[in-house]
Symmetry: C2
Subunit: 240 residues, 2 copies
Amino acid sequence: MEKRKIADINISVECVVFGYDNNRLKVLLIEQKPPPNGQLSIDSLQASIPGDLMLASESIDQCLHRILKEYLGAAPEFLKQFHVFANPSRMKGLIDKDWHRQFRSHHDKPVIALTWYALVQMNNFNPEIESVGAKAIWLDIAKVEDLVLDHNLILKKAISELREDLLHYDIGLEILPDKFTLSQLQNLYEIIADEQLDKRNFRKMIKKMDNLIALNEKQQGVLHKPAQLFRYNKVKKELM
Amino acid sequence: MEKRKIADINISVECVVFGYDNNRLKVLLIEQKPPPNGQLSIDSLQASIPGDLMLASESIDQCLHRILKEYLGAAPEFLKQFHVFANPSRMKGLIDKDWHRQFRSHHDKPVIALTWYALVQMNNFNPEIESVGAKAIWLDIAKVEDLVLDHNLILKKAISELREDLLHYDIGLEILPDKFTLSQLQNLYEIIADEQLDKRNFRKMIKKMDNLIALNEKQQGVLHKPAQLFRYNKVKKELM
DNA sequence: ACAAAAGTGTTGGAGATACACCCATGA
DNA sequence: TCATGGGTGTATCTCCAACACTTTTGT
């Protein structure tokens, strides 16, 4: 084989984590804290999607789980890889390069990002704690502003992937609290599908699911007729 | 940031190229020729999917196009990225390692494969020529045997991806010759979907496509009633 | 005339859509 | 008693699936 120079690049793993609370679809974002040594040239710190470069000691999967452990405390059950971001211009601007040097690596190697999205029940995870050097926050997806690098694009693509997956997986099982009302479930579907649904038709549709269980229990403390609570009968499904 | 060792890996780009001929779905495979210096420890050379490591001088896209140029002579119009193969065991066996050292790189770094599939009109490409050090052949997908590394898995995943995409893209437009009969089109759909279709229902379905044009032309030299020929009205579609 | 594939419509059923009123609770 | 969201059934329409015979050509 002729002599040739193989590309020297880094791999990053990024995971868009979705949660649901108070009738809003939320995404987990990381705000880095400026380091004490103060070498930082970035004025206003933009938030990022949880992620990191893959380390020499780990596989892709291990890297993904390390990231989730760090920011969520544990790995969610629902994880799906959805895209590769390899556009050379994804880390072009000076601010992006500063951010990357500061929080990821001093190398200037190109980075190819492998991206997953995760669905979590927000009450089972408590990332509101501040971890070392970073703060995790849940933000309404409608209120996300400028993120670092191409993370807005990654988020956008994750949402569109989630939308496509809406009818293929039991999204509600993964993201709703253990007990929920049918209106909550419908609201979740409406947010993800980005369209209004007819209440009666929606109920006909979801009542075909045989893993949806009606409980002998009702909402409490609401200003109207209390809704019946439901839960999912959790059956493990295989993801690819 | 603490000191930490970033993973040192290589990226490979692999492209499963599908063609259609004589009522058979075909895939382009590469048979490497043993090099003259004879350092090869591999007895029977297995075929591989066209691909290569990404080089330092190129982007992912450039790498993909270099590979397609080398084996096809040109880049197909339809290209879709479909998966990332990063399982550490994908290059585990001794034969795999030998093959990789011989034809890809002497490094023993882990390789993450980014995979595309392509659809081509076989009569517009002529890869039957022998390029330097390798021979390209079209093989009926039903007759593919052992490939190198995890390329059987990559092919299998490509086929299942193609199957899922069958109803979302005009597969026939990309892969059939310019003029074709409705029976050819139906046969193509049947091979990909792996099920028999009803002729009348199929025609009802595909005649909804407004980019399918009936020609004033018929098949020639067949032993039965000659079929009408059709073509697609090519309208550029955007892939993601 | 025969062999071989081309070409062509209708019907029934399932599933999706559209739509409006009464109910239970807390304030 | 009022405000709020919870809960329910029917009629229509659209789409899909099943199904068989006639036509045109070459030999």
